[in-house]
Symmetry: C2
Subunit: 364 residues, 2 copies
Amino acid sequence: MNYVVPVELHNQIAQAAYEKRGFSSQEATRGARFCEMASWHGIKTHNLLKALHLDELFGSGNTTSPGCVPQAAIIKHPSRFEAAQTWDAQKKLGQAVAFEAMDTAIELADKYGVGIVSVDQAFHYLWGGGYVMDAAKKGYIAYTNCTAALAEVVPFMGKFPTLGTNPHSWGFPTTEAVGFPIVIDWATSTVAMGRVQQFLREGKQLPPNAAVDKEGNPTTDPSKVSSLLPFGAHKGYGLSLINELVGAFIGGSLPTIRSRPQNASHGEKTTPNFFFQVIHPDAMNANAFAVGRNQASNIKAVLNDILGHGNESCLLPGQIEHQAAVASEKAGGLLFTEAELQELQHIAQEAGVALNLPSLATQN
Amino acid sequence: MNYVVPVELHNQIAQAAYEKRGFSSQEATRGARFCEMASWHGIKTHNLLKALHLDELFGSGNTTSPGCVPQAAIIKHPSRFEAAQTWDAQKKLGQAVAFEAMDTAIELADKYGVGIVSVDQAFHYLWGGGYVMDAAKKGYIAYTNCTAALAEVVPFMGKFPTLGTNPHSWGFPTTEAVGFPIVIDWATSTVAMGRVQQFLREGKQLPPNAAVDKEGNPTTDPSKVSSLLPFGAHKGYGLSLINELVGAFIGGSLPTIRSRPQNASHGEKTTPNFFFQVIHPDAMNANAFAVGRNQASNIKAVLNDILGHGNESCLLPGQIEHQAAVASEKAGGLLFTEAELQELQHIAQEAGVALNLPSLATQN
C-alpha cells in the first residue's frame, strides 16, 4: 500500500527540516523542490529521507568535519572565457548549487549555443538525472557528471577501490517527440553499494563482474563484497575515469580521501566536484531534415525507427521515470510506502510540521 | 615479422591513392595524415588499407550511390550562437571534415572556453580516437561522437538491429601528467562485427551478451551471429542512443537506412552525422588545487592515487596506443605485417608509387 503525500505538504516538511538544520530559506526551497522531483519520478534512492540521511552522515550533520555548510555563498570566479564559468561552492547544499549551475549553463547556451559550469568544493547533489531532466523539460540538451562521495569502485584489472561510482547524466528535450524527456542516467559501477545490501537482505547472489572481495577477487556473494567493479569492463572504467579527470582539472583532489577527511593529510581537499553542460538544440540544427520534417518530428521518426521492426517492447531511458510521474499525477501526490511514511512522519515531527496519517489518501 | 614503412613513403602512397580517386590535394593530405596517425598508434582497424577499402565499398568507389564525394565543399551555416557551428559536409571525405571541425572547435574553445561543431551529411571519419588524441596533444579536452555507418546493434531488450555501433571518443591533455593523452574511445557494442568474423576464423566462441542470432536470441556462436548487442545492457544502449539523438537533432535520418540508400524511400537521407566538442582546460580550472599543486600536477596526483594501492598493473585508456607510438618511434616508421604490406604494395602500385620491399627495414 502507498500513501499519497500532497506535494505542498511534502515540501512544507522538507522546507522546515532543512531550515531546522540551519539552511537558508532559498536553500531549503531548492532542497524541497529537488526531493519533490525525485519522489514524483519514483527515484526512491534520492527522496527526502535519503537526502536528509546523507546530510546527517556526511553533510551539515557531521560535526567533526561537515561536508555541507548551511548558508555558504558560492564564489563565482571571473573568467576570460565567455561561455564557461568556474565556481567554488564552498560546500553549499548540493541541490541548491546544481539548480543554479544548470540555470547558468542554460543562460550561456541561450547566448553561445553551449555553456559549461565547473564546480569545485561541492557537496553531493544526489540525483544528477533530476537536473538534466529539468533542463530537458525546459527545452535544452543537458549533461552533468560529478565525482561520487566515496571511492568504492576498483579500476579495471585492479584490486583496490580508488574510483567513485561516478555517475553520468544526459537529458534530451524530446517531450514533443515522445511525450517525455529522454534521460540517460546511471552510475559507472555495475551495481550500487545499496543494491549489494539489498541482495544480502533478500538472500540473493549478485550478477557476475559486479563486485570483488577483500582480496580483490570477483565474488557474487553479497556478504563477501568489499568493493564494486565498473560496468562493461574497460569501457565503464573509462567512463568512471572521466569524472575523476574532470574533477582533477577543476581542482578536486585524491579520490581515496574524498569525503574521508579523517584519512587526509594536511592541506588536502576531500570534496567532490560537479560539471554541468547545456546545449541549445537550435545550435545543433543544420536545418536540412528529410522529407519536410522539423527537428521534433525528425527525432520522433528516428525513435520510431529504433523502436520499430520488432523492438516495440523496448523502453526509452527516462520512460520509467515518466511512468512514475504519470502515477504521481494520477494519485494527486507523492507516493510513499508505509515504512517510508513512518520515517517521513518522524522528520515532520522533528521539524514541527503536522503530518496527519489518517488524512492521507492511500493506494493499493 | 613487421616491415617498417617510413612515414614519408606511407604518406606519399596515401596521397597518391587518394588523388587517384579524385580527391583534392588537401583532402589527400588529410587522409594520409589520418592513416599515418592510426598506424603510428597501432590502430590497424583504421589504417590506410581499411580507409581505402571503406571508401571503395561505401564512399567514392560506390558508383551507384557514393557516400563520399571527392572535392565536395563544406557549407558552414550562419549561426546566431557564437560558440557553436553547424556544417553541411556534403559527403566530403570524413577525415578532412573531422580535422577541420576539431580545429574549429579548438578556435571556439580558445575564445569561449567551449566550442561545438555539428556536422550533417557526413561520411565515416574512421577512428574518432584519433581526432580527440590530436586535440589533446595540442592541450585541449576533446570529445566526438558519430552515428556509425550501419545499424548493426539491437536495442536493449529488442530483437532487430536499429542502432549503429555508435562510438564515443574523449581525449584529455594529460601528457605533462603521465606522458601521453588519456583517450577513452570505443564503440557501444560489446564487440565489433569485424571481431565476430575474427572469432569465426579462429574457431572461438564469443563472450556472452555480445550478439544475437536471426531470431534475436543471444548466441556465442560466431557463425550464428546476425546482429550485435550493446555493452553493459541498458547503459550501453543509452550511450548508443545518444549518438542517434544527437544525429537526429542535427538532421540525420532513420538509422536503419543509414548507408543503405537502396532501402530508403524518396527524399530520405542516408548519411551519418558527426559531433565535435572542445573545452579549454583553463575554462574548467577553479585555481584552488590542494597543497600547492597546479592543474597538471593535480591530475598526476589523482592518477597516482587511482593507480596506486595495489592497482599498479592497471592501464590508462590511451596507454596501449601510446606504447604503439613508442614502438613506431623506435622502429623509425609505421609497422606493417607481411600480409598488410602486400596490400600496401598493391595500393602503391595502383597509385604509381614505387614501394621497394627489400629496401624496408624489418622487425621481429
